[in-house]
């Protein structure tokens, strides 16, 4: 049975680079593999953002980018912050 897919949410400059706010993609891969695939799919602009972005997995900062992402997880792509 296929694991439930991941939901990727792009914020701010990541959304501008990806040309979409959200995306659904198959689970079962690590964050590193996932970002390679997203870069190929959406092009250099997003690739550049993904290189400097931080990521939340179900709201928690992801520190192990080799671990397989849990099915049904929400992955938030956060460009470098620019508050204040």
């Amino acid at each position: 049975m296929e694991p439930t897919p991941l939901t990727i949410r792009y914020f701010a400059g990541a959304r501008a680079a990806a040309g979409r706010a959200e995306e659904v993609t198959p689970a079962g891969r690590s964050l590193d593999d996932l970002t390679v695939e997203l870069a190929q799919r959406h092009g250099d602009q997003l690739a550049a953002v993904l290189r400097v972005a931080s990521f939340l997995v179900n709201g928690v900062t992801c520190h192990d980018r080799q671990a397989p992402l849990p099915g049904g997880a929400t992955i938030d792509v956060l460009p470098p912050f620019a508050g204040g």
Binding site: F11, A12, V52, L56, F81, G84
Partner: protein, 142 residues
């Protein structure tokens, strides 16, 4: 143990009220209140800016309150109030306000500066600037 330091923190699309933040940190024990305003400037790296918009991640307010609580937990600090604006802002409007009260001024200046540094480093908020020549950019984003 003295009364726990009070904290106030909000991410809002309404104009920020600095005086309210300064009042929020008033404390009979406090001899010093230092406050900070991050103001939208009319230029960035020499390029004239005409308007600006902040976008916040849903967790922004929670992160803001965590940072406020950390600063408020420091021994000399009596109270902390800090808020960030999201949505469109005009030049001269305030994007970030922070206020800290302490017994003496050195601690207030140090804690307020640290508060703003921590907010800038950890708050999941982004800034989109529109320049006079019509181009725009997400700050800090390739």
């Amino acid at each position: 143990m003295t009364a726990p330091a009070t904290t106030f923190g909000e991410v809002t699309d309404r104009p920020l009220d600095l005086a309210a933040h300064e009042a929020a940190v008033a404390d009979r024990r406090a001899g010093a209140v230092v406050s900070f305003q991050g103001v939208v400037r009319d230029h960035d790296h020499g390029r004239p800016v005409v308007s600006l918009e902040y976008e916040g991640h849903p967790s922004a307010e929670q992160v803001l309150r965590e940072v406020a609580a950390e600063i408020a937990a420091e021994p000399d600090v009596y109270a902390v109030a800090v808020s960030h604006r999201v949505g469109p802002l005009a030049i001269g409007e305030v994007a970030l306000v922070a206020a800290v009260s302490t017994a003496h001024r050195a601690a207030a200046f140090a804690a307020c500066a640290r508060l703003v540094d921590e907010v800038k480093a950890r708050l999941p908020i982004w800034k989109r600037q529109v320049f006079a020549d019509g181009t725009e950019e997400w700050v800090n984003c390739p």
